[in-house]
Every structure is written in C-alpha cells, then in structure tokens.
Symmetry: C2
Subunit: 423 residues, 2 copies
C-alpha cells in the first residue's frame, strides 16, 4: 500500500470500509477517464473520455465538498470550516482508483465519487437547470385522480398526485367522502397543514353579513388571486375539499389560471413591462385590528421574482391585498401601465379553467403558480361549503423529491416557484 | 351643495357619513395647505405649507389608493381593478375640504385624508425607511425580563418583550417554571408555534449515540449558525426554555451573535466580498431518507439578501447545511475568499455573547438576525435539557405592529430580516 493510499485509509473511515478488497468491489470508472493536476496545485482537470472537453475543478470547491466521512456526514451535514479552507489551499497529489478520485490537500486526504464530480460540475448543472426551466405546455385541462389511488399504501398514487402538482400545478381528486374527517385524512397524506393567521383548517361558506370578516365567506365573485401574499412564504399547496354544493346553488364555479404561463408570455410580448414588474416592490397587507388576535401584516416584494439568470422563481398576485406603493417617481407611470396590462392578461386569458366542484371532490393546486377565483353564486336556499387547508411549499417539494427517490422515479421535477434560485 | 360635492355624497357612503355637518366635525388641515391640479389632468401638487417644496401625485397612483368605501374596505382590501385604472386616467377636479381632499377622476369621485397623503408620499417614505435601517449599536448585552411581566394581561410586558426582540434581537425571560407545560404557556403569548419537518415543540437533550439523528442532541459543541436555512422562510423567533441544566454539567454555554452587525461591518471593510456574498446562490439542504417521513429539502439563496436599494433584508448562514455550490467559474475564487473571511469574522467576533442558561430561564432571539451556537459540554452524570419552538417571522412582526398600535406606542420598528423590501 502506498503512503498516499495509507493516508486515506487512516483519515477516512468510510473510505477504509469501501477500499477493503477494492479491486473487486469498485465500480468501473468511465473508459478513457483521466485526471490532471494543475502545475500550481490550485485545481485539477478531469477528462471524462465521453466528450472531448476537460472539466476544471477549483482547489477550494473540492476541499469544501470532500466526501470523506470526516467532512460529510450521512445526513449531508458538512464539517468543513474556514480553517480547513484556508489551510488546504493546495492539492499535492491526485489518484484515480476505480470510480473514486483520491485527493491529497496540504493537510487533508479525502476522496470523491467520480460520477458525482462529473454530474455536479457547476457548468453542467446550469445547462440542465435552464432546460428544465422552460415552461411546458400550459395547463388548460385538469388532471383527475381517484381517492383510492392517492391513499394506496404503495405510494405510487401519492407520487402521481404530487407529480401532477409539480408538472401541471393542479389536480382534482374524486371519490373523497364529503366530510371534514376525510379532509384531514387527505391532509395527512401530504404532511402537516401549514398554520397561518387564519388557523390551520378553514371553511369557505357564506355567513350572515354581520358575521362577515372575509369576502370569501359570501356569495360574491372572487377575482383571480393568490392567497396570503403578505407572508414571506405564502401557502404552497392549497387544498379545497367540497363538502356541499347543492344542485339548487347557481354559479360558484372555481376558476384557475396558470400564472407562470401568462407571465412568460408577458416577457415575450412586453419585455419592458416584465422588467418593471420584477423591480417595483409591492406591499401586500392584511389588517385585522379587532378581536383577540389582531393582525397587522405587510410584506413588500415585486410581482415577478427572478433569480440571477432572470428565470422566474416567484409570482405574487393579489390586487385586493395590495397596500400603498412607493415607487420611484419615474417608475409610477410605467408600473401602472404594466400592472394594468398584466391584470387584463390574467383576467381575459383563454387559459382560464372553470370548474364546478361536486361534493366529494378535492381541488388541489400550487398557490405559488396558479391564480384562483370564484364566480358569484346564489344559494337559492341550498349551501356551498368547502373545507380547505395549506401545505408549506418547501415541504411539498421535499415530499415529492424524497418519494421520487424512494420509488426510483427519474422524471425531472419542475421549480415550484418558492423563490429558490436555479443553479 | 355643489354638483361636485354631490357626486361624492352619492358615490361614497363612508364619506357621506363623515361629511354630514362637516364644517364642525372635520379636523383642520395644516395651515397654508394648497392643492394644484396639473394642466393635463395627469397629477396634482400639494403644498403642505410646512416646507417650501411641493409634493406631486400621479393620477393612477391616486386612483389606485382612493380611500372611499367603494374602493377600500375597512380591512384594507382594495377593489380597484384594471378597468378602473384604465378608465380613470384623468383628474377633472380637486377640492380641499377641511383635512379631506376630494378628487374627481374621469368616471369616479373619491377622497383622501390629507395627512395620509402627506405621510404616504413615496419620497418621504423612502427617507424614513433608510434612516430606520441604519443599524443601532450592536447588541452585546442581553436584555432580561421576568415571567410575570410577559404574562401580565395589560400586554405592556408582552410589548416590551417583542420590542426587545425587534430592537436588540434577543431577550432572556427569568422565573419561568421549569416544565414543558410552561413552555407552551410562553408560546401562547406569542402566537402559534411554527411547524417544521422537526415538528412543533422540540427537545434539545443528549441521547444515546445509536439514537442520534441531529448533532444538537449530543454533547458536542455547535458552531454559530441559523436554524433550518433550507426553508424559503426559516424560523423567525427561536425560543429555548431551559428545563434542566444540572450544576455538575460542565460547559454547554449558549453563544449568540448579532449577524447583521458583522455583515454591515463586512460591507464597510470588504465591499467586494459583501457584494459577492449577496450574489452567489448557496444551496442549503436537509436529507433524511430513512424513517416514515423522509425529507429531501434544498433551497438556494445568497448568504446576504439585499433589496433594490442595497439594504440588507436577509442573512443566511449555516455551514453544516450547505450543499454543493455551482457558482460561475470566475466567481469560485472570490466566493471562497469572502466565505472564509465572513466565517472567521463571525467566529472570532468580539460581539459574541456567551451565557449559561439556568433552569427556569427562556432564551428568545430572532433566528433571522442572530447566529447561535453552543459550547461542548460534559454531563458528568447530570442532564442538560432545553425545550424549544419557533414563531413565524411575519407573524412576529405582525404581532408587534398590531400590539404597538393597540397600546398607542410610537417607537419605530426595525426590519426583522424577513427579506421584505424596504420602501
């Protein structure tokens, strides 16, 4: 055993376990794979043998991502500190061993899985992310699933439901018993309900005028909007379980619109309007001074949130909850032109889906991507009653990603518009 | 009654109520107040009589913020749509009436409270916001309060506690009975606990090595960090209630650091490092594939989040939870230089507060502004047990703002670093 290899064996317990009898247990590295240390020790180049290009890796990026068990726990926690990064500013030696790349820095020996290195190279990530970000065809048809499917213990149905919510942004579940006990059962398939200033599980039902505190609890129509925009992280999934919608009730159809699709069209047709709506900060607010739990929320953000590559990572839309803008004076004219136009593009969109919920149906959608509303209705002596709840957007994305891994699925997952940056 | 005034009376119910006998019930407008309609009807100028400058207001900004009861409900909900904004693109007439400004657009008559107009003018807001944003003196001394004070039904103590958490970012409550029943009582003073993938109420206590899933549940030291950075909106307030900390336990002191102060110093001393840390997107992650609730979270954002005026609105710091960076190749060198430097600035900071929690004490701090950690400890046969929970950052800000209004307090409130834009 060379002194170089011995250093790995000494420093890296998990590598030790994996190198015992390594000539037989190692996976093969890609044929033609070669590694070259730069003359100054500040990086290395990998030739994959698949493409003619070489990939460069920086000494500190490598040190920060060392995969030995000293540096990275099984739960993904890093223990690399500033001291390690400052000390290990040079690569002394590298060696390919099957599908592992052994690296010796100034004062630490570690290793990498070569395939991990290739697939995690910054530039390759960026290309994949941009491709995935291209919007698919707009969602104008509602995907439907059965209650039995989503409850099946194999989790295949649950995965399909979550995948619809990721790819299409919306899904209706049919055959759910029309009582609130089953609202909770549906919730538990998704995780914990997201608590807000309105509580956890809420009812949408017309109440007498003198009890009205939320316009949703009346018979009037609701314009297309997103819920609770005055939070940094507004609700992710919105789930509306139809408990009652009597045949005599006229109107009250749910409306839904893929906001991402409309916003991306605005970028094409009115690039300057798109730009101004991604710059002017808009206050969203909720004020409820009376009662035991007074609320005075205000949160400012642009209607369209972009990352450093100008990709859409968030959409914020709720005209009724807008507070008083304080744009720079030279932006006011342009803001109102853009705002008015997007308002019309949303409300006149041919992509709007209209659907009358039947008792026993559950409407689920991503509140960060889809706008929703309601046509006005007349109860005519009957009742329309929805029971609703929310799921945190990051927990939704996590649930889908974890389930996707458990079930061995390989479909790429769309950005959920939780404002997380792309690569 | 002029036809102009009659239009207001007809269109605006709340104004009608307020104008009945208006000559006596109106407050006086500032002496010397004058209003001038622009020649093209696209705006108006207000001369406050206090300063020589005139303030300009744009026709659409005014229309969007009309305060009549048709346009603005008592809960602050707006009903102004794109149609109103397009139609009412001209101001026909304006009139001062006591402290009210009556405005007649193309097809709508509404009104404003003049003092509201003055204090909500975009430019005045911006100046106030920038002044408030200037960091106060760094917090190196812990404010203390008594349990009795925060529970007092007058809410004065509760206000003071929340105000400390806003101004100083941290506060210790003493005299809290050392059982988990009282952890919940403390929580209910603040609102609803914020649910996360770790549940609602959690325990920090050393467990046998084979049960360990979180490094906090051991005796090792914890470097300065912020919790749950892999969420779009990580926990706001963190509350740690000391249930036990036996005299024989050696070490285990809590460490706290005002991250905002350190970051603002970095801006002064290393502007380019500050800039790069506000640009490179950093993945924060949590992976827990085993068990009934697998988790696979990843969220990308810069360490320092800025608004359009380059003011700090968010700080993200958790070295152990960092995933693999994908910076542009020409940013790698600079990123690691800046990251390493900030790492050292945090951990070597003279502002670090060290405190040994006693049973019956509650440590509370803003997890979005303060870094926290723990010195390693030895139980020596005794026990150290904290019960903790989180409060959503926006609900914290809302609670303080609402209480401040209810109690008639006028102290300005600091930004809570929830990434909401400044004016």
């Amino acid at each position: 055993m060379s002194s170089f290899l011995r250093a790995f064996v000494t420093n890296s317990h998990s590598f030790l376990r994996r190198t015992t009898g390594y000539t037989r247990t190692f996976s093969e590295a890609p044929a033609g794979l070669r590694v070259k240390l730069s003359a100054d020790g500040k990086g290395l180049a990998l030739f994959s043998g698949v493409t003619p290009e070489e990939s460069h890796y920086h000494v500190k990026w490598l040190r920060h991502n060392c995969q030995c068990s000293q540096c990275l726990s099984s739960s993904g926690q890093k223990t690399v500190t500033a001291d390690h990064l400052m000390r290990d500013d040079n690569i002394e030696r590298v060696k390919l061993l099957g599908d592992k790349l052994l690296v010796e820095w100034t004062a630490h020996s570690g290793w990498f899985d070569v395939n991990w290195l290739i697939s995690n190279h910054p530039s390759s990530n960026q290309i994949v992310a941009r491709k995935e970000a291209t919007p698919a065809h707009p969602t104008t048809k509602l995907p439907f699933m059965r209650y039995k499917e989503i409850m099946d213990p194999s989790n295949e149905g649950l995965y399909n439901w979550l995948y619809h919510l990721s790819a299409k942004g919306v899904c209706i579940i049919t055959g759910v018993p029309a009582d609130k006990e089953h609202t909770v059962k549906v919730a538990h398939r998704l995780g914990e309900m997201q608590s807000t200033v309105d509580g956890e599980c809420f009812d949408v039902i017309a109440v007498p005028k003198e009890e009205l505190t939320n316009i949703a609890d009346s018979e009037v129509g609701l314009e297309l909007h997103m819920d609770l925009q005055y939070y940094q992280s507004p609700p992710g999934l919105q789930i509306l379980h139809c408990i009652r919608n009597d045949p005599c009730v006229e109107g009250g159809e749910s409306t839904l619109l893929d906001g991402l699709e409309v916003v991306e069209r605005l970028r094409e047709t009115h690039p300057r309007q798109f730009e101004i709506l991604s710059k002017v900060q808009v206050p969203f607010q909720k004020i409820r001074q009376k009662g035991d739990f007074p609320v005075k929320m205000e949160y400012r953000k642009p209607h369209i949130e972009l990352d450093h590559n100008d990709q859409v990572i968030g959409i914020n839309w709720s005209p009724a909850q807008q507070g008083t803008l304080s744009p720079h004076e030279d932006e006011i004219e342009e803001y109102y032109e853009a705002y008015t136009n997007l308002f019309k593009l949303f409300n006149d969109s041919p992509l709007i889906i209209e659907y009358r919920l039947n008792p026993g149906e559950v409407l689920s959608f991503n509140n960060r991507r889809f706008l929703h509303g309601r046509r006005p209705y007349a109860s005519n002596g009957g009742q329309r009653h929805l029971a609703g709840f929310y799921i945190n957007i990051d927990e939704f994305a996590s649930k889908l990603a974890a389930l996707s891994k458990t079930l061995g699925k390989s479909q790429p997952l769309k950005h959920v518009l939780n404002t997380s940056y792309y690569n």
